[in-house]
Amino acid sequence: MTAARDESSAADGGVPPTGDRVLRVPRCRRCHRHFWYPRARCPHCRSADIELLDSRGTGTLYTYSTLPAGTKGSATADDVRILAYVELDEGPFILTTLTGLSPDEVRIGMSLTALLPDGDQPLRFVSST
C-alpha cells in the first residue's frame, strides 16, 4: 500500500482540512512547475520531490457549465450548480464549482478567488470583485 500512502500524503496538503486559511498547490522542487491534481510524482519531470506551496488562491475562469437544480451533486433541490475550470495564477487548471454568483453574472476570463473547504463543502471559487 506504499503507493496509495504516497498519493494520499501528497493529497493532504492539496485540500486543506477545515480551518486552514490558505490553498496549497503542489510544486516540483526539481523543475519548479506547479500542477493539479496533487500526486506523488511530478507529471512534468517525474521527480518525487514535491512541495506544497501556499497559493495566492486567485485565478481566471477558463470555462463553466450551469447545471439545473436537482441535478446529481446539487446541495439542495433549488441549487443551480456552476461547474467550472479555473486557471490558477500559478498555472494549473482546477475543476471546481463557483458560488455566490448567478449564472448570468458568470463570464469566461473573470477573476476568481478560492473559498477554502468548509464542513461538507469542497474547495470552491467566488468572484474576486
Partner: protein
C-alpha cells in the same frame, strides 16, 4: 485486385437490433452479436483465432467471454479499453495482429445494458483524480458542456450550430427502423429541450441504449476465400490526450493526432473521404472532431455543420447515416462499434438507399473515449472498398 500479404478486411458486421433489453443477460447479448457477425461473414466460431473486447466484459474479461461463448482456438487477445473509442482501436489492432501473422479471423465484441442495468460498472477502479474532482459531481454531460462553452467563447460557435448536428442525425435516423429516436427534429426542438448542463440540451446528448455489436476482421487469404465486397483497413491512428497536471485546451481532442496518423498510413487527405462515422456522444463531440480531423479549419465546425454539411448522401461530409449515437444507438454508452459498422455498410453499398453515398469507396470511422480534452483517447480507422 492483386493479393496483398498482410492486408486486413472487415468481413463481418452485426448491430444488435434491440435498444431496450431487460430480458437478455449481458452475456446473451455478447452471444447474439458474436453469432450475427460470424453469420454475416460466413465464418464459424471454430475459425476465430483473435478475440477483442473491452472493460464491459465481466469476470476475467476476454477469458470469461471465450469460455461462455465457446471459442476454443484463440491465439491472440486484446482488451484495450479506450471507452467508446475501444472498438475503432480494436479494428486497427486486429489489422496489425493479422499483418504480423498472429491471427487470421479476429472477432471484436461489445455488449451493454445501461438502460436496463445502469449500475453495472464492469471492472474499473476509481482513478487518482477522483478525490479532487468527485466532490463536484461532474456528469459526463457537464464535462462535455465545459468544452462546448469554451468552443463558443473562442470561436463564436452557437447553440443553433450545435443543434444542426442533431437535426442532421435525426434526418438520417428517420430511415432506420431500429433507431431509438426515429423522428426528425428541428433546431428549435433541440433548443427547447430541457437543459442538461448548459449549453448542452437534452437533444445535444446521445441516447442511452442496451444492445451491442460485433465486427470480424480477417486476413487476405480468408477474405479471398469468402469473396464479395470487403472493407480493407488501410489506415489507423490512435492517441491519448490529457492535461498532465498543467495546461488545458478543451477545444482540441486526440483526433488532432490520431487523424493525421491514419491519413498518412492510408496516403489520403480528408478531402478524399466519401463517408465518415464521427463519434457523437454529444453534438460538440462531432463539431470538435471534424475540425481536429481536418475536415474543416479549427473554429469553423459550426459553419460547416449548419447548412447541411453532414447530410447524406450529398453533403460535404455525409456522416452517421444510421442516425448515430445521437438518435439511433449508443450501446453500453460506447459508440465506437456502431461507427465501424455503419462505415462498412456504406462501403458495401448497404446503407439505406436514400442515404447511401454513391460509389462510396473510402470511409472513415472515428471513436472518442473519456472526456473531451482532459483525459481522453481517440481512434481513427480508414477503410477502402475492395471487390474480391
Amino acid at each position: 485486385v492483386t493479393p496483398r500479404p498482410g492486408a486486413a478486411y472487415v468481413a463481418g458486421i452485426y448491430e444488435h437490433p434491440g435498444r431496450v433489453l431487460p430480458d437478455l443477460s449481458l452475456l446473451e447479448i455478447f452471444a447474439d452479436v458474436t453469432d450475427g457477425a460470424l453469420r454475416d461473414a460466413g465464418l464459424s466460431l471454430a475459425e476465430v483465432d483473435g478475440f477483442f473486447c473491452a472493460d464491459e466484459a465481466p469476470g476475467f474479461g476476454p477469458v470469461s467471454l471465450i469460455d461462455y461463448l465457446g471459442i476454443p482456438g484463440v491465439t491472440y487477445l486484446d482488451t484495450t479499453d479506450l471507452g467508446g473509442a475501444s472498438y475503432v482501436s480494436h479494428v486497427g489492432h486486429a489489422a496489425m495482429a493479422i499483418a504480423a501473422g498472429k491471427c487470421s479471423v479476429a472477432l471484436i465484441v461489445l455488449a451493454g445494458k445501461p438502460r436496463s442495468d445502469p449500475s453495472y460498472r464492469g471492472r474499473r477502479a476509481p482513478g487518482p483524480e477522483v478525490p479532487y474532482e468527485q466532490p463536484y459531481a461532474p456528469t459526463t454531460a457537464s464535462l462535455y458542456a465545459l468544452a462546448a462553452r469554451r468552443h463558443m467563447y473562442e470561436h463564436g460557435t452557437t447553440s443553433e450550430q450545435l443543434a444542426a448536428v442533431k437535426v442532421t442525425a435525426s434526418q438520417h435516423a428517420q430511415h432506420n427502423p431500429h433507431a431509438f429516436l426515429p423522428r426528425a427534429v428541428t433546431v428549435e426542438e433541440v433548443l427547447d429541450s430541457p437543459m442538461v448542463s448548459a449549453p448542452l440540451h437534452r437533444l445535444d446528448c446521445c441516447v442511452v441504449t442496451d444492445g451491442g455489436g460485433a465486427v470480424v476482421v480477417v486476413s487476405d487469404e480468408v477474405a479471398r476465400s469468402l469473396g464479395g465486397p470487403m472493407a480493407r483497413v488501410i489506415g489507423h491512428g490512435e492517441a491519448a490526450r490529457a492535461s498532465y497536471g498543467g495546461a488545458l485546451d478543451l477545444t482540441r481532442t486526440a483526433a488532432t493526432v490520431s487523424g493525421p496518423r491514419a491519413f498518412a498510413e492510408a496516403r489520403l487527405a480528408p478531402g478524399d473521404i466519401d463517408y465518415a462515422s464521427i463519434y457523437d456522444s454529444f453534438t460538440i463531440t462531432v463539431l470538435e472532431t471534424i475540425e481536429n480531423l481536418g475536415f474543416c479549419p479549427a473554429g469553423q465546425g459550426g459553419a460547416f455543420v449548419a447548412d447541411g454539411g453532414l447530410l447524406a448522401p450529398h453533403g460535404r461530409l455525409p456522416f452517421n447515416t444510421d442516425g448515430g449515437g445521437l438518435c439511433n444507438n449508443h450501446p453500453g454508452n460506447r459508440g465506437g462499434m456502431t461507427k465501424v459498422i455503419e462505415a462498412v455498410r456504406q462501403l458495401r453499398g448497404a446503407a439505406h438507399p436514400l442515404l447511401q453515398v454513391p460509389d462510396c469507396t473510402l470511409a472513415l470511422a472515428h471513436g472518442t473515449g473519456g472526456s473531451l480534452g482532459t483525459r481522453m483517447a481517440s481512434a481513427t480507422v480508414i477503410m477502402e472498398r475492395v471487390d474480391l
